[in-house]
Symmetry: C2
């Protein structure tokens, strides 16, 4: 509140946990650091917040520079600020997470990264700083949000099969789902529709392709109930539209 009193200025960074589904695994993007501290260690992509830059913009910029993708789902996760989390300086990290469709993968090491690669979530080498903690938090958030929002669609390319979509849920939640129940459930939501095209993929029956009706919105599915209301007050479904290429506003959770 009183920035002029004690000049406790800190460095603020935006670091991004970038998820994708690849080969039936949940993977995330790491960069090998070219600079000290922690030179040579794998870390989350991220960068300092510039003076005239919004936090979301920093996250998007870091995302774009490291992966070449833009217009993907990006949401603020949590802010990590333990004094000891970074050696020497006081660095506070505003962590974001992003979901990238498996089609958009185009890697390019750039900036202060000497290498970029995808890692399966359960086989991470030891990460720089407190980035392991950030990854854990992001995974939990992703898994939770899968259950009460339409975030899963953000992993999907423009056209996909129901098996593709089911796989997202299975990989993130780490459990097998029943095909019939999954299809009933996902179709009952009315958020996807058949494109009319089919994908033939091997020596078996071809699969119908679907598209998301409203690909750039992430909606909250289950509004809470907890106990029954006895009047007609309807408090609207939470919905947030997000222009492509822009970060989401502060989320409901």
């Amino acid at each position: 509140m009183k920035p002029q009193d004690t000049a406790t200025a800190a460095v603020v960074t935006a670091d991004v946990v970038i998820f994708t589904i690849q080969g039936g695994e949940l993977k995330l993007l790491l960069v090998r650091r070219a600079d000290d501290p922690c030179r040579g260690q794998w870390a989350l992509p991220g960068d300092q917040v510039r003076m005239d830059e919004d936090l979301d913009q920093t996250a998007m910029r870091a995302l774009q520079v490291q992966t070449g993708v833009h217009g993907v789902y990006l949401e603020q996760l949590y802010t990590f600020g333990r004094p000891s989390r970074y050696p020497i300086a006081r660095v506070i990290a505003v962590a974001y997470y992003a979901l990238v469709p498996s089609e958009k993968l185009q890697l390019q090491a750039a900036g202060n990264a000497e290498a970029v690669d995808w890692f399966a979530l359960n086989q991470l080498s030891n990460l720089a700083f407190d980035h392991a903690e950030i990854v854990t938090t992001a995974s939990r958030r992703l898994s939770a949000k899968l259950d009460y929002s339409t975030i899963a669609f953000q992993f999907m390319p423009a056209e996909f099969t129901l098996s593709d979509l089911q796989q997202v849920y299975e990989v993130v939640r780490q459990e097998q789902l029943d095909k019939r129940n999954f299809r009933k459930w996902i179709l009952a939501q009315g958020r996807i529709e058949k494109t009319g095209r089919m994908r033939r993929n091997g020596s078996h029956r071809p699969a119908s392709l679907f598209r998301v009706k409203n690909p750039h919105s992430v909606e909250i599915i289950r509004q809470g109930r907890s106990a029954s209301a006895n009047n007609g007050v309807e408090h609207g479904q939470e919905t947030r539209m997000r222009p492509v290429g822009q970060a989401a506003a502060a989320p409901v959770r």
Copy 2:
């Protein structure tokens, strides 16, 4: 990631949205600023993050200094960092929200506040900076979290009636609930128990008093389902214990 390159140091503050239930209304605590900028305007309590201080600690400190309470529920909300949100300097606010039982209210203007008071949520005068936006975000989070966690108990004093508790849900969600269904639902959870004592409160039948079995934990109630699993994999209920007087870790949502 490279704090030494461009010295983009910012001031970081922790600001707290402090909720309580008072007189059947959801209220929050504001302070009138004694200093520029925005001198004389009402704002959220908060302070600069000190060099050796965790973000949670800053929030707790601000909370304690302004209200004299400690050991209440405190959770990080979101980080606000628009470049224009604060005049002159670049100030990034890590926002928290806190829930205070209605019994613990002890106000005292201190620090850089010339006055402290409670305001009903729907009659806020225009707040300093982007604090109105922060309050909106906090209210949404609170309302959402009521539905899928046991956060409501954090509003309750040590002993309370079921009507008291129901009122919390009604006030926050802004709708009337059916008494029978509410009691069935809340008792079926098995998280509260009768103390054996009664409260006599007026010219009507006395009410049984209850206590929370596990008052310092906030648990996630509804684990998501989305589609039925067909194997026995049980992924544990999310539960976080939080020592009294300490801030919560990064939440699931």
